[in-house]
Amino acid sequence: MKARRSKIKVGWRVVMGVALAAMLSSAHALKVDMYAIGNWSAGNCAPGDTDSNRPSWPGMAQAWYDIMGAMGETRTGKFIDGNMTVRRFCDPSSKAGCQDFSWVDWPDAAIVAAHGYDAGNGWGALMRNSDLGTCSLVMGAGASGSTFVGDNNLKFLHASSCLSLNDNYFSNMRVAMKKPGSSKGLHEMTGFHGVMFISSSFNGNYANTAFLGHFIAVSRAWTSQHYKSNQFSCAAYDPHNYYGTCQDQCPTAMTVGATGSAALNRLLNERYNNTAAFGSPGGRSYYAWMGYRGCDPVAQDAFNP
């Protein structure tokens, strides 16, 4: 029953998207990929660890992926479990064997769903299989970071991952978003400050991110759809947090730029279908971010960059 409900929920949004796609020009069509891990126990990074499995997770990423397609973008790669390794996410400038140019940095927009951690003021994500001597994607986090994206094609990176864009990462992330020496860079990254939650009832939020991101800034689409105020950890007598027992899901977004106003302007106005109006970031001297003041997630202090 739950599965059926979920499919129908996403299904009507697909219908909605198809109808709306007809109104959108196809000239801007982005290449879109999704990378999601739901099963770690059959891989070698957490072998036999069924605790780590989250079978419903790929469906959330796919909700975004499918609606991106319905909105007129080109779905170019759906990668779930399998041989998901760092090779797909690391930049060859960081280590021989890295091939992000054929994977996450090949499309224009991508979503990555994987367990996360703070890799030292940067995002770490647990891969399914070990490769190149590591089980982790590390983005930002100073010298230990091997993920630099946007120097090839990627413009929008959505991280469906706990602790993927904490308020203490922003400064470090900018190097990963515009690789030294590259004329191109990532236009925008979105993620979560603290823990994110999985539910089939949240699939619609991923679908709606894809939908709304064609009409308003991607940052606003992400942060409006994934903001869940006071819906977690509530006491039974306090479902609306009137007595302060609840916690939040806290989406965040960031951009880089040569100036503060350039980074902010991009953050507040760039959509999936107007990337040409902004082009690649002209620098990374400045970074701009978005989040909810005081948003209080599980596993992190309240958002206060």
Partner: protein, 372 residues
Amino acid sequence: MYDKIRVFAIVTALMAGPSLANAQVADSKEILRAAIAAQLRPLLGDGAGGIVEKLKGVKPDGAISRNFNPAVVSKAVFGRAAANVAPDCNSTQTNTKEPDQGRCVIQTGSPDSPTGAFAMLAFSKNIGMGDITYLRRPAFDPNSTVLPSPVKLSDAEAYAQALKFLALLGVPKSEIPVAPRDAKNPLPVRALLVGAEQDPGKDATRIEVQKVINFQRSFTVPGGLFKDPTTGIVLDQVLAPGEVTVAVDDNGVQLADVQSWSDAQMDPKLDPALAKSTPELIDEITDDLFAEGVRKAGSLSILIGLRKAFPNPDDPNPPLCPVCGVLRPALRVVISQVGPGAVDSSERNFIAPGVVREYDLVGQTEAESPAR
């Protein structure tokens, strides 16, 4: 008694000489079960019958389908501007005569314009499904160096604007939760904050650009639902399917997103006699969460709510509309392996997402059986 049986089961499992790994699995499952039982028993006692009986008294009386008037909303949000109405808006059925679950879209401006102004109202063609989105974006200059204006609205003003707009959209006032007088946090409002900086903490620009209102739908339960034995707080509201997000700035509502605020009515076939026992629910929840990979309960929340369900197999047409579904009493379980406050994490101590699941408090009226 039940807990003693569980402890006995753990001890028996360990004494029977299973592998250490198997023992650990059994152990972690029993720890999870104990955590669930500790929350559920004060909430339900021996079973869900009492709660279900109370929830039968909930009478959704608003119905967004009766209140939403697209012509009125369109006039209010677009004014004199010539809005384009999608040609398929008049149809509520598909070509195969099924209820159309898509949306009607009314818009001004071009959605694809790189920098131009745009506004859109999109709503379920079968409005009883309860999905309405209104958004607008101003024209902008991508090369502008002008910083966005900070929002001056207070939280209370923003909330009042949001309620007024939701009333325009037809969201029944009776389904919007009302804070009790002694509430510490009466307003579900937060500021959307943007910032830009060169170095952390230096020359930082921080601007509150919007006030954002986010809350879940709620019904009043006549006579109250539950009294917390520790605090004495009486809960007289029950969560229901439906959520709204409204973003407001000094120029008005910029985004309103009403999701799944369907016209579902209480399941007419709801039978409290079929309410599940607490041990039954504890087993069901434990088994399901365990299968979902959940082992630790750093934070566990169990709330009473209503969930949208499909009607009974022999009653395919719920009261108000063919795609609205029905409401059934349920538990909303929210669990994460870590709790509040900052925690250390690493590759070996990665943070798994929390999980939200719903469980019916009442069993199916009858088992489905194939007619063929």
